[in-house]
C-alpha cells in the first residue's frame, strides 16, 4: 500500500502528522511519534505575545526596585544575557532534528509584522523543514474592518515568506467572510499550504467564583465537519497543500478528510486522550481501510469526494444546510 503523500513539497511516508501541541516539548515524545508512524511533526507554537511578555516581565521585575534604597542597589544578581524569545525554541528544533528523521515543522504564532520574519529565518536556520504560521487573531476592536484584518494576515505572511526559503503553511480559523477568497489570497501571497482549521480556544466562566476559566476541551470526530467541508470546497482550486486539522481521531476520520482532498491530516486531541501510540492504531486502521476498499494508494483516494468530484457539488454549499434541515423531517 502506498501511503505516501506530499505536503508543502515535503515527501511524507503517510498523511499522519501530529499538530502543534505541548507534546512536542519533549524530545522523547517526538521520538515516540516517529516510532508510532508519524510522517512529520508540527512543533508546539512559539507565541509572539509570550516572547514580548517575557521580555517586558523580566525587565520589569529586574528593574522595578533598582535604586530604591540605600541598602539595596537592586534585588537580583545581574545574570547578563537571558535566553528570552526564540533561543530556547531554536535549541529545541536542533535537538528534534538530531533525534528524529521525519520532517520537523516549526510553528510560529503571531499577529503582527514586527520582528517575526527574523524569528522565522532563525527557525529555518536551526533546521526547521517548514514553518507553520499560526495566525491567532481575535479582532475585538470595533473600528477594525474585515478588510483590515485580512490585510494583516497577508502582511504577516508576506514578511515571513520573504524571510525564509523553506515552505510556509498558514494555519487559520474559519471565521472569514469569504474564506475561499482569503485562502486564495494567502496562496497568492506565498503560502505553500493551508492548515484548516485552528480550533480557537474558547474560555468558560465559573459562576461561583465569578471568574473566566481557561480550560481546553479536546476535539471529537464531530469537529472535523468544518475542515471537511472547506477542504472539499478548496481542493483543486489552490496551488497549495491542504492539511486537515481538528477532529482527527480515527482511521475513518483520516479517510474522510483525505477523500475530500486533504494532503495530510493532523491530530492532537486523540493523542492527548489515548496516548501517542494511538497514532499507530490510526495508521494501521487507515491502511486496512484502504485495503478493504481496494485503494492502492492515498493518492487514489485524495479528493475523490471533493466538491468537484461528488455527484452534487451543491451539497457542500447552502443546499447542504437545506438537506440537513430536511432530514429532520
Amino acid at each position: 500500500m502506498d501511503l505516501s503523500t506530499t505536503y508543502l513539497g515535503l515527501k511524507l511516508k503517510n498523511p499522519l502528522v501530529p499538530s502543534a501541541s505541548p507534546l512536542s516539548q519533549k524530545v522523547d515524545a517526538v521520538r515516540a511519534m516517529e516510532d508510532a508512524g508519524a510522517a512529520a511533526v508540527v512543533m508546539y507554537s512559539v507565541f509572539e505575545e509570550q516572547i514580548r511578555h517575557e521580555q517586558h516581565e523580566l525587565d520589569h521585575y529586574l528593574e522595578r526596585d533598582v535604586g530604591n534604597s540605600a541598602e539595596a542597589m537592586s534585588y537580583f544578581p545581574d545574570l547578563g544575557n537571558y535566553k528570552i524569545g526564540p533561543e530556547e525554541y531554536l535549541e529545541h528544533i536542533r535537538k528534534l532534528k538530531a533525534a528524529v528523521k521525519i520532517p520537523v515543522i516549526a510553528s510560529l504564532n503571531g499577529v503582527t509584522v514586527g520582528g517575526w520574519a527574523d524569528y522565522a529565518a532563525k527557525m529555518a536556520e536551526a533546521g526547521a523543514d517548514a514553518i507553520e504560521l499560526n495566525i491567532y487573531y481575535l479582532p475585538t476592536n470595533t473600528k477594525l474592518s474585515g478588510a483590515e484584518v485580512e490585510q494583516r494576515y497577508l502582511d504577516v505572511l508576506k514578511a515571513v515568506r520573504k524571510a525564509v526559503k523553506v515552505p510556509v503553511a498558514v494555519k487559520l480559523g474559519p471565521y472569514f467572510s469569504s474564506l475561499a477568497n482569503m485562502a486564495t489570497r494567502l496562496v497568492e501571497a506565498g503560502a505553500n499550504g493551508l492548515v484548516l482549521f485552528n480550533r480557537f480556544y474558547q474560555p468558560d466562566i465559573d459562576l461561583e467564583k465569578k471568574e473566566v476559566t481557561p480550560n481546553v476541551i479536546l476535539s471529537t470526530s464531530a469537529s472535523n465537519r468544518l475542515p471537511m467541508r472547506w477542504i472539499a470546497i478548496l481542493h483543486g482550486k489552490l496551488k497549495a497543500s491542504l492539511a486537515a486539522s481538528s477532529g482527527v481521531h480515527t482511521a475513518e476520520d483520516v479517510a474522510k478528510l483525505i477523500a475530500v482532498g486533504a494532503d495530510v491530516t493532523m491530530m492532537t486531541s486523540a493523542l492527548l486522550k489515548h496516548g501517542i501510540w494511538h497514532l499507530a492504531t490510526v495508521r494501521e486502521g487507515f491502511e486496512r481501510w484502504l485495503e478493504q476498499h481496494e485503494y492502492k494508494s492515498v493518492q487514489e483516494l485524495r479528493g475523490s469526494m471533493s466538491q468537484k468530484s461528488v455527484a452534487d457539488p451543491s451539497t457542500f454549499e447552502r443546499a447542504n444546510y437545506m438537506k440537513a434541515l430536511a432530514s429532520f423531517g
Partner: protein, 1187 residues
C-alpha cells in the same frame, strides 16, 4: 599603563582588585559593603578568572564571624584570601582578627567603613568600626577617593604578602563605596606585577598540610606567652617600609605616587590638618583656595594608620609647623581624645623628646570630630578648622559640621564659603526610587565620564522609606579632577522628576543664578506656571532660572515604559545641558540602553529607544513671567495639632533639613516617643481602595492584609454618627454581636501606598459587574480631601470593645486597633500584616526585641516610627539591638519581666496587711489567660496603686514601681530569615531551649531582603538570589521542623494569604503557650520578583503546591500536639515557582540547570510533605515502655 578611564564606584574598585588577588573569598552581606560580595559572586558564577588565571572560590557564610573564620582557615592552609565587611560585621570578626594577626598570616579585609551602632543604628559612614579593630594587630590602610580605593586595595594585597601582616583596607562607607567617579583603570598586568610571586609561594608553603604537618593554635602559659607575643615585633617594624615599597612599585607601574603620610601644601605652612579618608579630598579643595589667597596651611593625608610609623609621620610635617588639628571621623567617649589625635600627640611627644621633629618648638595640637554617620564635610568646615588653628587658644576636642549647643564643642562654619572649581557643572535630580532616576543618572555619569574628556562624579542619596522612597542624585562634571566629596549644594541644573515634590521640597534653594530647572509636569508649557507654588515661582524669578517642562509619564505610557521615566528624563538632561551634541548624546544614551538592557531582549531595548526618540518633541522651555502669580503655597509638612517635638524636630528632618538641627533638639539616649508616623502624611498612593457597601460582606480580610494599617473597620452606635461627614459610608452591621450598630470601613487616603493587596484579597465580587469587588482602586487625588475628613472622623470614633469582638475570627481581629501603622515598608509588603496582627492582638502589653533588617528599618528608622499606643497610653515597647541577638535580647526582657512579676508578688504578700487580703489574693491568683482576665487584673492593679499611694515605706514605693508587672506581658523577638536561619540561629535555638515564655516571629522572605536579596539558609533550591547567582543548589532549612524536635516549643508555620484564620489562631496559641513559641511566617517580598498586589495569592499557591505546608505543634495539647493544617499538594511546584522572577530568571539564563534544580525542588516539596504527613501518624502520647 593604567590610562584607560573607567567610571566606577568604590565598592566596584575594591572588589575588582580583591577578586583578582584572591583564591578564596568568604562573604556576608552588610551595608554598605554588600556590593563587593555581590560582584565577586556574580563574577565567579560567570567564570571570571583572577590574576593567577583561576576562578576564586566564593562562599557565603552565616555571619561575618563565619566569614572571618572561613578566611582564617583559607589563609592558614595557604590560599590568598579576602573578605568584605563594615561596621558590626567588622566587630564580629574581631576575635578572628586577633588570631590571624597573631599568626602572621597575610589576608586583606576590604572595609567600607561604617558607623558602629550605639544609641542608634546607622548604615552610613565613619571610622568607628575601623577604630574598634586598632588593637587586633591588623594593618589599617586608608583610601580616600575611588582611585585610591583601586590603588590602596592592590597595595594592601601586595604588602600583606610581603610583610605577613594582615590588612584592613578601608574607605568611607557610602561617600566612597557608593560614589561613582571617573578614574584610571588598574589593569591585570599591574596587579600581577604588584603581587610578589615569591611571597605568594612562601605563604603557600607556610600553609598547613598533612604533607608537612605542623601545629598552630596552642595554648600557652604565663611562662612563655609574653615572650612569644613579642616575637612578632620585627614584622611590625618592617611593615611600614614594605607598604611604602609597594606604593613605590605602584607608582612606577602607574605614575600615581603615594606615601604613608602624604603632605599637601606649601613647605612653610604653619597650620596643618591631619586626617584620613574621603574628607581629605574636600580638605584639599579648601587648602588650594586658602593657599591661593596667601594663607600658609597644610594637610597630611594619613594612608597607613597601623602600624603607625612615628618617623614617617613627623617627617611629613613642614619644619614651620606651629599648630596641628587632627580630625577623627569617630567618637571615643571617655577617652583623653579621639584615637588619631592621641596617636599624633604621642608621635610628636616622642619625637620631640628624642629631638627627631623637623621643628624645634612643640606645636599646638588639637583634635576634633567630624563626619559621623556620613555627616557632610565641606571645604567651609575645613576652613573653620584652619581658622580655629589661628586662634591663640583654639578649642580642643571640638566638633565640626554640627551645632553643639549643649557642650559647645562645635566650630562656627561660614556656609557661604566655597572652594569648588567654577568650571564644574553641578546637577541635582529629585526622583522616586521606583521611577528609575538613580539608574539613569548612573548611566549618564558613565556616558559623560567615558565618552567625553570631562571628569565626572555621581552620588546618590536615598530617604529611609521603602515605599515611595525619594532619591536625590548629585552629579558633577567638568574639565578638572573632582575632589568634592560632599553633596552638591549649589547647582546649575536641577531636575524634579515628580510633580508632587514641588509642594514638599525646597529644590531651588540650591540653584545658582541662571540655573536650569527641569520639571516633569502634567501641565504644558503654557499652563504650568500657575500650578507652581509661590515659593517656587519666587525662586525662579529671583534667580533668573530657566524653566523646562516635559510630560514624561505620558511618553512613558505611550512607549510601554510604564512608570519608569528614567530614559525620558535622561534624554531631557542631555538635550538641555548640551554636554554632548544632541545627536551624539542620543546615540550614547542608546548605546547605554543597549548595554544595560540588551541582555533582556530586543523588545526591552526597543521600548527604551522609542522613549528616547519621543522625548524631544515633548520638551519645552517655559516663558517665565515677571511676577509671582500663583495662589498655591507649600503646605506645612505636619499638622498644627502634632506634638511639639514632631512639629519642630521631626518635621525638620522630614523636610530634609535635619542637618540644621542642634544637639539640644534630641533625646540623649536614643529613646523616642512612639506613634509618630501618623504625623507624616506622605500621599504616595496614586490609587486608593474605595468601598462599595452594597457588595461588602464585612469579612475584615482587607483590614487584616493591609501592610500599612491604612484600611480599618469599626462598628459604631448610630447616635455617634450624627456629625459624620457627608461622604462617610456606613451600613448596618451584618451579624448578631453588634446588631443595630453601623459598620464603617474606612481608608486612610494619605497613608495608603496604593499597593492593591486589599482589593486582590477581597473575596466579595459585585453581582452586576464581576470585575468589581467590594473595594476597588480609584485615583487618590480627587478623593483625598473628602476621605481625609472621613478618616479623621473615623479615628475620632471610639474603638470597638476588645472584649466584645470574637478574637478568634478574622472579622473580629480586624476590629482591634492596630498599634503598628503607616510604616515605611514596601507597598504590598508581606511582613507587615503579621507585625500589625501581633500588635492588634497583644500590642497593649507587648515588648518587642527586633533583629536588624527590614523589620527594624520600617520599625524604627527616623524621622517617624510606626509603633504606637492606644487611648490608655498603652502600646508596643520596641527596641533593636543587633542583627544577631534579637532572641537573646528579647529573652532578657522576659527575664526582667518575670523577675519583676515575682518581686511584685512577693511585695504584695508582704504588704497584705496594709493592702487588704481580698485584693492581694485576687492579684496573686488572677487568671490572665484571656483578655478578660487581663482587663480584670489591670483594674486590680489600679486599685493597688491607689492604695499604695497611702503606703509610705520603701516596700510600698518598690511595689508601686513594679505593680504593672502583675499584669501579664507579651514578649516577642522579631526578625527575618537572615536572623533566624543564619546569623542569629545559635541564639534563637538557645532561646527555644530555654523553656521561657517568649515568642519568636520569623518574617520569612527567604532572602536577606533589607540588603538587597542575598541568599539565606531559608532560600529555596532553584531560586536565584544574590550570592546564589547560579541558583541555590541545596534545599532550604526547615526551621519549624527543627524547633518541633524539642517537644516543648510551640511551633507554627503560617501563610496569611493561604489561610488567614490559621494565622490568627497560631498567633493566639503561641502567645498563650507558657513557654517558647516560634512562628515561621511566609512573607512575600519584592525580592521574589512578583506583582506585590498579588502577594497573598502567591502565598496561597505556595501552600497549594505543598511547598509551604501549614502546621502547628502545640505542647499545650499533649494528647495531640501536632496538626497538619493544609491539604495535600494539588498543583505542581512549578505553577507556584514560575510566577516568581527569582526562579524564572534562571530558566532564561541557564535553562538546563534551572530544569535540574526545579526537578530537585519538586522532590524537596514531595519529601517535605511526606514528612509532615507522616507526623500525623505519630503517637505523641506514647508512654515509654518499662520492663
Amino acid at each position: 599603563m593604567g590610562s584607560r578611564k573607567v567610571t566606577i564606584d568604590g565598592n566596584t574598585a575594591a572588589a575588582q582588585v580583591a577578586y583578582r588577588c584572591s583564591e578564596v573569598i568568604a562573604i556576608y552581606p552588610i551595608t554598605p559593603s554588600s556590593g563587593m560580595g555581590e560582584m565577586s559572586d556574580e563574577w565567579a558564577a560567570q567564570g571570571l578568572r583572577n590574576a593567577f588565571g583561576t576562578v576564586p572560590n566564593v562562599v557565603e557564610m552565616q555571619s561575618e564571624a563565619g566569614a572571618a573564620a572561613a578566611v582564617h582557615g583559607a589563609v592558614t592552609t595557604g590560599a590568598m584570601s579576602c573578605t568584605f565587611t563594615a561596621s558590626q560585621g567588622l566587630l564580629l570578626m574581631i576575635p578572628t582578627m586577633f588570631k590571624i594577626a597573631g599568626e602572621l598570616t597575610p589576608v586583606v579585609f576590604h572595609v567600607s567603613a561604617r558607623t558602629v551602632a550605639t544609641h542608634a543604628l546607622s548604615i552610613f559612614g565613619d571610622h568607628s568600626d575601623i577604630m574598634a579593630v586598632r588593637s587586633t594587630g591588623f594593618g589599617l590602610l586608608a583610601a580616600g577617593g575611588i582611585q585610591e580605593v583601586l590603588d590602596m586595595a592592590v597595595v594592601a594585597h601586595a604588602a600583606t604578602l610581603d610583610s605577613r601582616i594582615p590588612f584592613v583596607h578601608f574607605f568611607d562607607g557610602f561617600r566612597t563605596s557608593h560614589e561613582i567617579l571617573k578614574v584610571d583603570d588598574l589593569p591585570d598586568e599591574v596587579i600581577r606585577k604588584m603581587l610578589n610571586e615569591e611571597a605568594v609561594l612562601a605563604h603557600r608553603a607556610r600553609g598547613m598540610s598533612p604533607d608537612h604537618p605542623v601545629l598552630r593554635g596552642t595554648s600557652q602559659n604565663p611562662d612563655v606567652f609574653f615572650q612569644i607575643r613579642e616575637t612578632i615585633n620585627p614584622y611590625y617594624t618592617a611593615c611600614p617600609g614594605i607598604v611604602q615599597k609597594a606604593m613605590d612599585r605602584l607608582g612606577e607601574l602607574t605614575g600615581r605616587h603615594y606615601h604613608l603620610f602624604d603632605y599637601l601644601g606649601p613647605k612653610d605652612a604653619e597650620r596643618v590638618v591631619v586626617m584620613m579618608g574621603s574628607a581629605a579630598d574636600a580638605a584639599e579643595e579648601a587648602l588650594a583656595k586658602l593657599n591661593g589667597q596667601g594663607e600658609k596651611v597644610g594637610l597630611v593625608k594619613v594612608r597607613l594608620y597601623r602600624p603607625f610609623s612615628v618617623a614617617d609621620f613627623v617627617a611629613a610635617l613642614p619644619t614651620t609647623t606651629k599648630a596641628i588639628a587632627v580630625l577623627d571621623r569617630t567618637k571615643e567617649p571617655g577617652a583623653a581624645g579621639e584615637p588619631m589625635y592621641q596617636d599624633v600627640c604621642t608621635a610628636i611627644g616622642e619625637a620631640m623628646a628624642e629631638g627627631k621633629t623637623p621643628f624645634r618648638a612643640m606645636p599646638r595640637i588639637i583634635g576634633g570630630r567630624y563626619g559621623l554617620s556620613s555627616k557632610e564635610f565641606t571645604p567651609a568646615m575645613i576652613k573653620a578648622v584652619y581658622d580655629e588653628l589661628s586662634k591663640s587658644t583654639p578649642k580642643n576636642h571640638f566638633t565640626v559640621g554640627i551645632e553643639d549647643d549643649v557642650t559647645h564643642t562645635s566650630l562656627k562654619v561660614d556656609a557661604t564659603w566655597e572652594a569648588e572649581s567654577p568650571r564644574c557643572v553641578r546637577c541635582l535630580f529629585y526622583g522616586l526610587g521606583s521611577d528609575g532616576t538613580v539608574g539613569a543618572n548612573k548611566n549618564s555619569i558613565k556616558i559623560i565620564g567615558e565618552e567625553t574628556d570631562n571628569h565626572a562624579q555621581g552620588y546618590f542619596v536615598y530617604d529611609s522609606k521603602k515605599a515611595g522612597a525619594v532619591t536625590v542624585s548629585h552629579l558633577r562634571f567638568g574639565p578638572d579632577p573632582i575632589k568634592s566629596t560632599y553633596l552638591v549644594n549649589r547647582a546649575n541644573f536641577i531636575a524634579c522628576h515628580q510633580w508632587s515634590f514641588l509642594e514638599r521640597y525646597d529644590m531651588l534653594g540650591a540653584a545658582v543664578k541662571g540655573a536650569v530647572f527641569l520639571v516633569n509636569s502634567p501641565y504644558g508649557k503654557d499652563e504650568v506656571w500657575d500650578q507652581l507654588p509661590q515659593e517656587v515661582q519666587k525662586d525662579i524669578i529671583d534667580k533668573q532660572i530657566k524653566l523646562w517642562v516635559i510630560d514624561a509619564p505620558t511618553i512613558a505610557k505611550a512607549t510601554g515604559m510604564g512608570t519608569r521615566i528614567n530614559t525620558i528624563m535622561q534624554t531631557c538632561f542631555f538635550a538641555i545641558s548640551g554636554i554632548l551634541p544632541r545627536d551624539e548624546a542620543i546615540a550614547q544614551i542608546k548605546k547605554a540602553i543597549k548595554k544595560t538592557y540588551g541582555g533582556r531582549g530586543e523588545e526591552v531595548v526597543k521600548k527604551n529607544y522609542q522613549a528616547v526618540d519621543s522625548t524631544l518633541d515633548g520638551l519645552f522651555e517655559v516663558k517665565v513671567p515677571a511676577s509671582v502669580t500663583s495662589k498655591l503655597k507649600r503646605p506645612p509638612l505636619v499638622p498644627a495639632q502634632a506634638p511639639e517635638f514632631v512639629k519642630t524636630t521631626l518635621a525638620t528632618i522630614i523636610a530634609g533639613n535635619g542637618d540644621s538641627l542642634p544637639v539640644s533638639a534630641f533625646p540623649k539616649d536614643g529613646t523616642f516617643a512612639t506613634g509618630t508616623t501618623q504625623w507624616e502624611k506622605r500621599n504616595i498612593a496614586l490609587e486608593i481602595p474605595v468601598l462599595d457597601p452594597e457588595t461588602c460582606i464585612q469579612c475584615g480580610k482587607c483590614v487584616l492584609v493591609c501592610p500599612h494599617a491604612a484600611i480599618r473597620q469599626k462598628v459604631v452606635d448610630p447616635a455617634q454618627l450624627k456629625s459624620a461627614p457627608p461622604t462617610l459610608k456606613m451600613v448596618d452591621f451584618k451579624g448578631k454581636e453588634f446588631a443595630g450598630m453601623k459598620y464603617i470601613l474606612q481608608v486612610a487616603p494619605e497613608d495608603c501606598t496604593g499597593c492593591g493587596l486589599c482589593v486582590d484579597f477581597c473575596p466579595a465580587k459585585n453581582k452586576k459587574e464581576a470585575g468589581l469587588k467590594a473595594i476597588n482602586m480609584r485615583p487618590q487625588m480627587p478623593l483625598r480631601e473628602a476621605e481625609r475628613t472621613n478618616y479623621e472622623f473615623f479615628l475620632s470614633l471610639p474603638e470597638v470593645d476588645r472584649l466584645a469582638v470574637k478574637q478568634d475570627t478574622v472579622k473580629g481581629v480586624s476590629f482591634l486597633q492596630p498599634l503598628f501603622e503607616y510604616s515605611g515598608a514596601c507597598a504590598g509588603c508581606g511582613e507587615t500584616p503579621y507585625v500589625k496582627l501581633l500588635t492588634q492582638l497583644f500590642g497593649d502589653r507587648a515588648v518587642i526585641g527586633n533583629a536588624t533588617g527590614c523589620s527594624s528599618i520600617y520599625g524604627g528608622n527616623l524621622p517617624t516610627t510606626p509603633y504606637t499606643f492606644n487611648k490608655e497610653g498603652r502600646g508596643v515597647a520596641w527596641s533593636n539591638s543587633l542583627f544577631e541577638d534579637a532572641a537573646e535580647f528579647s529573652l532578657g526582657f522576659r527575664l526582667t519581666i518575670d523577675k519583676f512579676a515575682v518581686q511584685a508578688q512577693e511585695l504584695v504578700k508582704k504588704l497584705e496587711g496594709q493592702l487588704g487580703d481580698e485584693l492581694c489574693k485576687a492579684l496573686l491568683e488572677a487568671d490572665q489567660r484571656d483578655e478578660a482576665g487581663i482587663f480584670a487584673q489591670r483594674e486590680r492593679v489600679e486599685t493597688l496603686k491607689q492604695k499604695l499611694k497611702k503606703v509610705d515605706s520603701s516596700e510600698g514605693r518598690m511595689l508601686m514601681s513594679l505593680a504593672d508587672y502583675l499584669v501579664r506581658k507579651s514578649v516577642w523577638a522579631l526578625g527575618g530569615d537572615g536572623w533566624a536561619y543564619d546569623i542569629g540561629y545559635g541564639g534563637l535555638d538557645h532561646v527555644l531551649a530555654s523553656g521561657r515564655n517568649i515568642n519568636l516571629l520569623v518574617l520569612d522572605t527567604e532572602v536577606y531582603s533589607n540588603t538587597g536579596g542575598q541568599m539565606s539558609k531559608s532560600t529555596p533550591r532553584g531560586a536565584v538570589a544574590k550570592f546564589a547567582a547560579a541558583g541555590k543548589p541545596v534545599a532550604k532549612k526547615d526551621l519549624a521542623l527543627l524547633a518541633m524536635t524539642y517537644g516543648s516549643v510551640y511551633v507554627a508555620r503560617v501563610a496569611m494569604g493561604a489561610n488567614d484564620l490559621h494565622t490568627v489562631k497560631a498567633f493566639t496559641e503561641a502567645e498563650a503557650w507558657d513557654g517558647p513559641s516560634l512562628i515561621v511566617a511566609y512573607s512575600h517580598c519584592i525580592a521574589h520578583g512578583i506583582d506585590m498586589a498579588r502577594g497573598m495569592q502567591q502565598q496561597k499557591a505556595a501552600v497549594e503546591t505543598g511547598y509551604w505546608p501549614l502546621m502547628r505543634y502545640n505542647p499545650a495539647k499533649p494528647e495531640a500536639p501536632y496538626s497538619l493544617d493544609s491539604k495535600a499538594p494539588k498543583m505542581p511546584f512549578v505553577d507556584y515557582a514560575y510566577n516568581e522572577t527569582r526562579y524564572k530568571m534562571l530558566s532564561k539564563s541557564d535553562p538546563a540547570r534551572a530544569k535540574k534544580l526545579l526537578e530537585e525542588a519538586q522532590r524537596d516539596v514531595a519529601t517535605r510533605w511526606g514528612i509532615y504527613e507522616a507526623l500525623t501518624n505519630v503517637n505523641f502520647t506514647q508512654k515509654p515502655e518499662t520492663h
